[in-house]
Symmetry: C2
Subunit: 208 residues, 2 copies
Amino acid sequence: KLPQTTVARLPVYLRSLVYLAGRGVQIVSSEELAQLAGSNAAQLRKDLSYLGEFGTRGVGYDVDQLINEISKWLGLLRDRSVVIAGMGRLGGALVGYPGFSQKGFRIVAVFDHDPAKVGRGVDGLIVRDMSELGSIVSQNGGVDIGIIATPASAAQAVADQLVRSGIRGILNFAPITIEVPDEVFVRQVDLSVELQILSYHLQKAERV
Amino acid sequence: KLPQTTVARLPVYLRSLVYLAGRGVQIVSSEELAQLAGSNAAQLRKDLSYLGEFGTRGVGYDVDQLINEISKWLGLLRDRSVVIAGMGRLGGALVGYPGFSQKGFRIVAVFDHDPAKVGRGVDGLIVRDMSELGSIVSQNGGVDIGIIATPASAAQAVADQLVRSGIRGILNFAPITIEVPDEVFVRQVDLSVELQILSYHLQKAERV
Ligand SMILES: NC(=O)c1ccc[n+]([C@@H]2O[C@H](COP(=O)([O-])OP(=O)(O)OC[C@H]3O[C@@H](n4cnc5c(N)ncnc54)[C@H](O)[C@@H]3O)[C@@H](O)[C@H]2O)c1
Ligand SMILES: NC(=O)c1ccc[n+]([C@@H]2O[C@H](COP(=O)([O-])OP(=O)(O)OC[C@H]3O[C@@H](n4cnc5c(N)ncnc54)[C@H](O)[C@@H]3O)[C@@H](O)[C@H]2O)c1
């Protein structure tokens, strides 16, 4: 079991390692990897120590070995299936993004409840009605992750539908805290919150 | 000076308080506010204690007073001006989102370097060429925040241009760590990282 803060940093280390591998680098020091990941070497060594013994003191880490190890811990050695609920502005941007499938996240179905959107083709998929969620998830033999890109007013109801269909991972963009059973994992991305955190720092700097 | 973890939670408390005010609620207990914000009452009381003495033991917090106080700390008592660099899928979704201006974040200009996009109208603005960033920022008397919605390959160069124009807050969507001087604040949103964190939790649950 890894600390939550370590879990949140592993994907950034992985991103940096994949970048290095792409440039043919085979061994990397903790300093260099930490720099690329926007972290510091001591924290990086501590985080990686939870995965086992990997680096050689004074030499560094084997890039390919570490990529494989982190991918294993993050459950990335197999594809993950994803559905999107809400095909508005944000849903439309997400479905077209090639970066997800490149990392093993396959968008298998997209949903909306607006009759003007249901039935339309987007990036090789047909927008389905939310009422079909349960049957489409079981036709796919289960789905790993549901993305909520609906207005806040619909987000809890949509979360309930995703959970009822057997989905256990939710990425929620709606600016509202959703409640789910203990066995369901939620990651919340609230872009307004990010802007407000920046505003705090700007305001602090202005007062100096 | 507030702890970073407290700063990151204040906007979520604010979101919940605004929701309560909209429903006419005037006093709220720490338990109820924590529940709405997806946090716990002890942590909420600790976070708010950094702002000063607000709640009355046994009674709760004054919703309007707390909204005003948190808004002050977050620098939200005045509008913040925002520019977006990169008017592709994501940039297009962001410029049209009414939620930003409702919270006081006004998108004043949008940029791209693709001649096919420059000059087009989007949501009341004209897409400008990146080369005009400096002059447009000074015409606006300075801009608070720059959003990077370009590919990773361009992100560092774009960050440098934003900093050179005097912008001190950056929200970066490109999956790469950008380097900026100490006086510039960066928030990183990497949606693939969010999916990978979900994948870690799913994998852990599968192994049980
Ligand atoms: N667009 C952005 O840049 C942005 C930024 C920050 C946050 N958000 C949040 O992301 C969410 C989506 O934003 P958007 O800009 O794409 O909104 P949008 O209005 O463009 O799209 C929302 C879509 O959800 C659909 N929908 C509504 N209720 C539904 C339901 N019960 N089941 C299925 N579909 C339903 C609508 O028909 C619509 O197509 C919102 O919660 C918003 O606050 C968006
Ligand atoms: N679309 C998504 O859902 C999504 C999800 C996760 C991450 N991202 C990240 O967000 C960024 C944008 O993604 P997208 O899907 O909108 O890509 P996109 O290709 O649709 O749009 C990128 C835009 O940036 C412009 N651009 C490129 N170089 C530029 C420069 N030097 N100056 C100004 N503009 C420049 C391009 O002309 C294009 O219009 C990428 O870094 C991507 O990895 C996007």
